[in-house]
Amino acid sequence: MPLIEIDGQQLEVAAGSTVMDAAQRAGIYIPHFCYHKKLSIAANCRMCLVEVEKAPKPLPACATPVTDGMKVSTRSAKAITAQKGVMEFLLINHPLDCPICDQGGECQLQDLAVGYGGSASKYQEPKRVVKDKDLGPLIATDMTRCIHCSRCVRFGQEIAGLMELGMPGRGEHTEVMPFLETQVSHELSGNVIDLCPVGALTSKPFRFSARPWELSRRRSVSPHDGLGANLALHVMNNRVLRATPVDNEAVNECWLADRDRFSYQALTAEDRLTRPMVREGDRWIEVDWQKALAQAAGALKVIRDTHGAEAIGFLASPHQTVEEHYLFAKLAQGLGCENLDHRLDQADCSALPGAPWLGMPVAELDGLDRVLLIGSTLRKEQPLIAQRLRQAVKRGAQLNVVHAVDDDLLCKVTHKLITRPSGLARALAEIARALAEAGRDLGSVAAAVAGIAVSDEARAIAASLLSGERKAVLLGAVARQHPHRVDLHRLAEAIAGASGATLGVLVDSADAVGAAAVGCLPGPRGLGAAAMVAQPRKAYVLLGIEPYLDAHDVAAMRRALESSELVITLSAFKGAAQHYAQVILPVVPFAETDGAFVNMEGRVQNFRAAVKPAGESRPAWKVLRVLGNLLGLEGFAFDTAEAVRQAALPDGEASVRARLDNRAPVGELLLQAAVDGLERLGETPIYQGDMLARRAPALQATRDSEHAKLCWARGDLIQRLGLVEGQPVRIVQEGGESVMKLGRDDRLADGVVRVAGSHPLSSKLGPRYDAARLEKM
């Protein structure tokens, strides 16, 4: 290891590190703009120039490799002169109007100008003005402020995998701009706001709403996908004004998905519920908590006493906290009801041996050599997991895909089998069979796949999985929601077992692992979510659910709720609750309660309320506690969320770990026959997965949200059916129909119609992966 000296301090640093790395190790700050630990070295800002003994010129610390015996001075006269010279150049064309810049107070240029800038500008010439760009609904621009550090450009190339911003032009005419005047649409685009060291790229929704020093930063956890990105909610006057990432290398590194970053907007959505409401005949009246809770408890008791506890169905969103999942389950069980579930979007809710999880730590994804990704629209389900796998691929991993659409993952896919949803199990069976032919043991599925003919691509995927060291077979949300999910799971398990890979589930909601771990699942004789919909109950208790969006089969869900006698909903937002509920209990979203989410690797992440509950709304765990008490149930005496968590997970993370289990249910393979005609691919779109994302105006204005409004079909299908791209088309499924605009996507498998689930425009349709017809309007 080279021994070097920085500012008189001697230290040993790893060979291949830079002077910047060494300085950081020594606790010495070298001013910089273009350098970023997660991005490639550009060495273009020149702010980190330092003096290196024997070098004739100052050298950029970020790009200079250490050599044994090197002597570096970061604060010598020569270094300071160079740094001050660069600062002067950076400022000559930069507007010196910090008081009207949104970055003011958290600007790297402003901060460093204090140390390295002059007190007055010597520049007397006209300053450069750069036209602003329209980057879409998330990112505001003030391009005159750009200092050309190229961090945003490198982020696109290296992290996002899509170069949406570039730097055309030469010299002073160099400008950061979106190519071809298009907007920025990547699901991680908001990170450029953090990366931009000046006020050139700022948050459009947050713009000019507060100064950083007016905001308190409160740590929280993102309530969307199963990653649980660590974030800071910035609060002023009891209002969350923005969210920024908190570094956690094990979870989100220093990134946030746009969904994590902008969903806070929903906290103040128009339909936020702030007072309990009960239905009296056709009228809704606002009541106090006491009355609402008494009415809810009373009505539940009546149903139980007249029809039995099995007449009630308990449905929770997987995005609630683990404490809420625990108490919700306890409430159902206390009433003697086993109809309990948090998997409303699943077609098949049959029991699993334990809580499905990633099967490995999140951080190990980057180091995988071989991956088989099954049934996952990865970028939209798990934007940051997609990013980690992209880095793995860059390091040489082979990514193989089995899916119904060949979406661009923005990295190299080695082999893929793209087939309609009903063919997914067969595709996996081929891979399994290929492994068997290579002499691997498939265990219980061996006989079922014995007669399967193996395609070249399946064989190639099997061969890929048989090479390499660190391997994973990952099941995505489409596989989870799929009606033949158990088949997919069994085959994935067999493939993983036969190839020596880890089986992982890409858990796509904030606390699905927690919900499963604390038993928010049907009891031995109880009904799962799908059965509760298919066999309507007399009463439903809903926690954080929008049934007409969340259900796997929305048409059936409508029929179930319409035929019920009682629906009690605990929700932060009104949505369509007034159409189906009798009692509406306003509970708070994650930002207003203490709690914890258990992420896909089983990590329990606690957070505190960042702001007070809106109006009279209350944390759901408190509401459930009172309901339990009113119903005379045992064990609801909790004063704090911590106490609930202690009861739910007595050994903390160890209690979760004890429940983690990715084994598939034991049984025969069905190997679904191909569906006649067209099949719907009804994934949950990126900004429709939960109540918050659905209500964030900025997210709803993105291209992803626009795309979710379309019915997508392949060009050859559009032609065959005599349909016209861009025109409305009728989608007909058993149980319902919808009209949407037709879009063309040639990456779909043959015979697939992509019509999003969890979407208002498809909320009259049937099951997400069932037969569908397209009709001309």
């Binding site: 060495a43 160079a82 150049f89 064309n93 010439e125 050309h148 010299g171 005419h173």
Partner: protein, 428 residues
């Protein structure tokens, strides 16, 4: 003249003949003989590099780096592909010599690149041709076709079992692409911006592979050296400055053009070859090595010989050999304004000091020229120049500063006159 008898017209000898660019002319006068001999005898690479080192051939593109030394940086026994790149991105104002090689003697360049490719173990060679010259590009392409048809390029060259091919890459006219790493980026299809070094092209060059980049005239000199030996080339010039060199003489002379003379020739002789300064005018100043070289006043220049060391000693550089002659009608402020504008426009914009500093320099000079100068401007120009020089990724920053610092140094009173009187002392 020819490649059969050693003479000082190393690169320009074909112009004595009717069809200077043709393969027939070239082969009739000793062309491709050096290559033939190397392939037939399987001359070891070390021996070729030793000859080039002996020749004291220094890079003709401007930096004057010893070519043999540069070639010795290429890794031996490297398992992957390696490349040879010829830099014909001749964009330095005042320089117009390499285009004549493409136009009148393309085969000597091809032969030079072949020998370089053979010596360095390269898989292929690229010639990056400046985007604003077209006839020359065509001429080179035609020569490539001729050479390929005659078996000098492609598979199994001259029956030796050695494969090598050459390709042309036509640039788009950006000055910065003459910087060797920006040139590589441009060939790769990226924006032409210099890379920071290390790593150097010899270890991480074109497509990340070991690459040697030489100027056109440098590579075209190689067949001569291999034909007559490094010592003969060295003796054409003077110690540490081997060979002859093409000088592009422009400005206020009666016969502007390219002149190939031995290194060490007195400047006065070159001036005389170019027909001397216009009648009725006297020599005022000379930029001896292309626009980025510091300007030298007439008396200093007249005492110089044309070689790297002599001009460096006088405070400028031989550079690419572009001799810009200015007579007493020239307003030095206006001349500098134009030069500064060039560097301002051609800065790639990647790194801060150059992107911001070149514009600042130009705007101040522009103000002075337009009667809005301020007394503190001259010191400010020098101060800004010091903050650019040495702090940038590539040499363009220093190239922009060179003229400013030297014009102000040697002609300060002219600038002061402008600032004070808001007009020019030479009557513009």
């Amino acid at each position: 003249m020819s490649l059969n008898v050693p003479n000082h017209k190393v690169c320009s000898w074909t112009q004595d003949y009717d069809q200077p660019a043709s393969l027939a002319t070239y082969t009739a006068h000793g062309g491709y003989e050096a290559l033939r001999k190397i392939l037939a005898e399987k001359t070891p690479a070390e021996d070729i590099i030793a000859q080039v080192k002996t020749s004291a051939l220094r890079g003709r593109g401007g930096a004057g780096f010893p070519t043999g030394l540069k070639w010795s940086f290429m890794p031996r026994g490297y398992a992957g592909d390696k490349y040879v790149v010829c830099n014909t991105d001749e964009g330095e104002p005042g320089t117009f010599k390499d285009r004549d090689i493409l136009l009148y003697n393309p085969h000597q360049l091809i032969e030079g690149m072949l020998i370089a490719g053979y010596t360095l173990g390269a898989k292929a060679g690229y010639n990056y041709i400046h985007g604003e010259i077209f006839e020359q590009y065509e001429s080179w392409q035609q020569a490539l076709e001729e050479a390929r048809a005659a078996g000098f390029l492609g598979k199994n060259i001259l029956g030796s079992g050695w494969d090598f091919d050459l390709f042309a890459h036509h640039g788009y006219g950006a000055y910065i692409c003459g910087e060797e790493t920006a040139l590589l980026e441009s060939i790769e299809g990226k924006k032409g911006q210099p890379r920071f070094k290390p790593p150097f092209p010899a270890s991480f060059g074109l497509y990340g592979k070991p690459t040697t980049i030489n100027n056109t005239e440098t590579l075209a000199s190689i067949p001569w050296i291999m034909r007559f030996g490094g010592q003969a080339f060295l003796e054409l010039g003077k110690p540490n400055n081997g060979g002859s060199k093409l000088f592009s003489v422009s400005g206020h002379v009666n016969k502007p053009g390219n002149y190939e003379v031995r290194l060490g020739t007195p400047f006065a002789e070159l001036l005389e070859m170019a027909g001397g300064v216009r009648a009725g005018h006297s020599l005022k100043a000379v930029i001896p090595g292309g626009s980025s070289a510091p300007v030298l006043p007439a008396d200093v220049m007249m005492a110089c010989t044309l070689d790297f060391d002599s001009i460096a000693k006088a405070g400028s550089m031989l550079g690419s050999g572009a001799v810009i002659v200015m007579d007493d009608s020239v307003c030095m402020v206006k001349a500098l304004e134009r030069l500064s504008y060039f560097y301002f426009e051609e800065s790639c914009g990647q790194c801060t000091p150059c992107r911001e500093g070149t514009g600042w320099l130009y705007r101040i000079v522009h103000r002075i020229e337009h009667g809005q100068g301020r007394p503190e401007d001259l010191d400010e120009l020098l101060r800004i120049g010091r903050n650019i020089g040495g702090n940038t990724i590539c040499a363009l920053g220093e190239a922009a500063v060179g003229p400013v610092a030297s014009f102000v140094k040697h002609f300060r009173q002219e600038f002061e006159y402008h600032i004070e009187n808001k007009r020019c002392m030479v009557g513009h």
